[in-house]
């Protein structure tokens, strides 16, 4: 006995010694005394390796068929272990299954047995086991599910709930009802049981109830709604795991009708919960607000409350989406910028809040100063005060580098919006052109250049941002909108005749720098993008003979990709696309957009035109720059929109056939 005990405790499959045990176990499995056999089975069941199991499976099977129930039990469990280790051996044990199932079905109907019971409930372990088995059997099978409905209802209503045991059985019953294809009355019964659990004082039971409700909320949404108030109360519980589950469940339950009430509770929760929850809670609130906001003003109010309460825990990617939201609600601009200004007046330590505020003040500073707000009594702000705030953000030690970037760009934008403080802006910008932070320095230098050489272009460039379309493509890809729109709008003011080609190229350079500056603000991609652009402009591309591919060919539209690798930066690939049209009508308003997986960075330059003439008589060319630092297989999703034969056409495609020389 001690020997086997020692073996079980000290040895495991990795030791070589245990191989020697195999023979020993084999002998003992055939011993006359049942206890010795039992010991051997036990040891094999606990720590048998796959080789041992293979060797001894035959013996185990023999023991499964003996009349001695003591041994049969052990053999059955040992068989379970064997199957877990060596799934192929399952066939050997399969024929015995129907027999076992029959035995179980009989047992469930039989009467009480005092030695098996726990506090008056007959053999709970067995009951739960059987329920579990029923669950697995009935999962996809309609007939067996129907047969089980009666017995499940019986168990659910008759079991006593005062002791933990009863609750254990009810819990298992509920799980089974959820999993099989039961009728709706039964499901409602199950959810009511869970609701009763929630009201119970015992934490364990509440925990269990919340977990199962979380699983069922997808399918039985309405039934769970009834218990919404109890769930919201659980948010105030002291136990951390209960709070977390209650929070997840609350997010799942938010819908158009209850969004205001729920949001109030959730905001209160956000205020008082532990820091590890705050990030998740904030993201959840943003999502819910986006889906169910009853009005734009409410949405913006909620968003700002979150920012002020949990500003430093908000995820970084929330900032661009918030900015986009604000741009989209055009009529609320004045109100928004006023609220944000008041929020950062006292305290600018919460980075995401400050970033959003800085961006808004930059965009809508003129509305702030002119006091145009309708929703709230307007505050009196002078241009100097606004510039003061932005400057103090720039100087403050608490501001992150990204925040400073936002602030600097905002100050620059204000140079066009504000009428009397242009010199002050110029001064600030020139101070930072010798800043240690490379990003700030680059921006400051560019803005300086804008003041000095392109002052006539400044107003046009610093115009308000257009309303952004949210383009979402499935999968973890990063979206970069085609530069075509912003740049072509500006280029229209100075159409480049062929004689002024070099000037316009320099202009384009500057513009590209500037629009990527905007996009880095909005898309929070690495600062290396700017460096990459300048690098690319200065280096030569050697033609390296990479084969070109046809990326897309449908409905008469063909798009070819030709590749060039950069000499100076081996992670950069330049793709030139050529779009041609073989139908008999022109394709107009052609827009090409592309997205790549997260490990890449993409930049689209402006296309040569937006019309593809018919009969392959001309093409549109556009250049794409791809940065691939991890040298991964290049993949791309493209979206094409154009007008053809009087109707607007949109298409999505995936390009996978990039030649290996283009990315290796």
């Amino acid at each position: 006995r001690i020997g086997y005990l020692g073996a079980m405790l000290l040895l495991d499959e990795r030791q070589d010694v245990h191989l020697l045990m195999t023979n020993c176990i084999k002998n003992d499995l055939n011993h006359s005394t049942q206890y010795v056999q039992g010991l051997a089975l036990c040891t094999l069941g606990c720590m048998g390796s796959s080789e041992m199991c293979r060797d001894l499976a035959g013996e185990v099977e023999k023991l499964l068929k003996t009349s001695n129930s003591y041994l049969r039990k052990k053999a059955a469990l040992c068989a379970v272990h064997v199957i877990r280790k060596v799934p192929e051996l399952m066939e050997m044990f399969l024929p015995l299954v129907p027999q076992l199932v029959r035995i179980l079905k009989n047992l469930i109907m039989s009467g009480y047995s005092p030695e098996h019971d726990v506090s008056g409930i007959s053999d709970p372990f067995l009951q739960v086991r059987i329920l579990r088995l029923l669950r697995i059997l009935g999962r996809n099978d309609d007939d067996s599910s129907e047969a089980m409905n009666d017995i499940l209802a019986q168990v659910a209503t008759n079991t006593e709930t005062s002791k933990n045991v009863g609750n254990a059985i009810l819990y298992e019953t509920v799980l089974t009802i959820m999993d099989i294809k039961s009728e709706s009355g039964l499901r409602v019964l199950a959810i009511n049981i869970l609701g009763r659990f929630l009201l119970n004082n015992d934490k364990n039971i509440r925990y269990v109830a919340l977990t199962s409700l979380l699983k069922t909320v997808q399918t039985d949404h309405n039934a769970v709604q009834r218990h919404r108030s109890t769930i919201v109360d659980c948010l105030k519980d002291l136990d951390v795991s209960i709070k977390r589950r209650a929070m997840e469940l609350s997010f799942a339950l938010v819908n158009g009708n209850n969004v205001r009430g729920m949001m109030k509770e959730l905001l209160y929760f956000l205020d008082s919960c532990e820091p590890e929850f705050k990030a998740d809670c904030a993201s959840g609130i943003f999502l819910a607000a986006e889906k169910y906001a009853p009005s734009k003003r409410w949405h913006i109010d909620t968003v700002m409350r979150v920012l002020t309460m949990a500003g430093s825990y908000v995820r970084d990617d929330a900032v661009p989406s918030l900015i986009q939201l604000i741009t989209n609600s055009v009529e609320m601009h004045a109100y928004t910028v006023q609220r944000l200004y008041k929020a950062i007046l006292g305290d600018y330590s919460q980075q995401p809040l400050v970033q959003v505020a800085a961006w808004c003040i930059g965009e809508y500073g003129d509305l702030l100063v002119s006091g145009q707000c309708e929703e709230e009594p307007p505050i009196q702000v002078t241009e100097d005060e606004v510039l003061d705030i932005l400057e103090s953000i720039l100087i403050s030690n608490m501001s992150a580098s990204v925040t400073r970037g936002y602030a600097l760009t905002a100050i620059m934008k204000l140079s066009t919006r504000f009428t009397c403080n242009v010199n002050r802006v110029k001064k600030v910008v020139s101070i930072y052109s010798s800043s240690i932070d490379v990003e700030l320095q680059q921006r400051a230098v560019e803005y300086n250049a804008l003041f000095k050489k392109y002052d006539h272009m400044r107003p046009a460039l610093l115009e308000r941002m257009p309303v952004m379309e949210k383009v979402t493509i499935n999968g973890p890809t990063e979206i970069v909108q085609s530069n075509g729109e912003t740049e072509s709008a500006v280029l229209e003011t100075k159409p480049p005749p062929s004689g002024l080609q070099p000037v316009s190229q320099v202009m384009e350079t500057d513009l590209r720098l500037f629009s990527t500056a905007y996009q880095t603000t909005l898309l929070t991609t690495a600062n290396s993008k700017l460096e990459m652009v300048s690098l690319l402009l200065l280096c030569l591309f050697a033609f390296s003979g990479i084969p070109s591919i046809t990326a897309y060919n449908k409905n008469g539209l063909k798009i070819d990709f030709t590749f060039e690798r950069s000499n100076t930066n081996p992670s950069v690939t330049l793709i030139t696309i050529q779009a041609s049209n073989s139908t008999e009508l022109d394709m107009t308003d052609f827009v090409f957009q592309a997205a790549v997986p997260k490990t890449f960075q993409l930049q689209l330059l402006s296309p040569s035109s937006s019309v593809i003439p018919a009969f392959n008589s001309g093409t549109i060319t556009q250049v794409i720059k791809v940065l691939n630092p991890q040298k991964q297989q290049l993949r791309m999703r493209i979206k094409l929109t154009y007008n053809h034969k009087g109707s607007a056409i949109q298409d999505l495609a995936e390009v996978n056939n990039f030649p290996s020389q283009s990315w290796q």
């Binding site: 006995r1 079980m8 606990c46 372990f125 739960v128 819990y171 795991s241």
Partner: protein, 154 residues
């Protein structure tokens, strides 16, 4: 299936450990240390279930001993509490009013009882009477051999 069972005192000393999965020794020690820390730091008001890695830990405190079981995701936690309770009852029945000292000095008997109750992570015998009877019978066999061995030889 139960992955492992740990018994430890309030000072964090491990009294019993039974593993139903194979792990290297170092891993086991690390896991034990981690779990003891997690459970000892929880106060009275919190629930008995902890989510840990991809397992659920179910623990219960009896006097000065913590009984902790690690179960898989789809197992019933409330039932596991019952399993722990049943094991304590078996110990009580065998030792008669069991206390921590009994387990310390007769740890091999505690293991034997556990092995009669659970094999390979699953419950095997739900009847209290038969489980204890099986242990007592094995004890008798064992003693017979020992007595025989202790008989003075001429």
């Amino acid at each position: 299936m139960i992955h492992f069972i740990l018994l430890f005192s309030r000072q964090g000393k491990l009294r019993l450990q039974k593993w139903y999965t194979t792990l290297p020794d170092k891993e086991k020690k690390k896991i034990v240390r981690e779990i003891v820390q997690i459970i000892l730091s929880r106060n009275q008001k919190t629930s008995s279930f902890v989510d840990w890695k991809d397992l659920k830990l179910v623990y219960k405190r009896y006097a000065s001993l913590y009984f902790c079981c690690a179960i898989e995701d789809q197992d019933n936690e409330l039932l596991t509490l019952e399993i722990v309770h049943r094991y304590v009852e078996l110990l009580d029945r065998y030792f008669g009013n069991v206390c921590e000292l009994d387990i310390i000095f007769n740890f091999e008997k505690a293991y034997f009882i556990l092995d009669e109750f659970i094999i390979g992570g699953e419950v095997q015998e739900t009847s209290k009477r038969s489980a204890v009877k099986a242990i007592e019978d094995s004890d008798m066999l064992q003693e017979t051999v020992e007595e025989y061995m202790n008989k003075p030889a001429f």
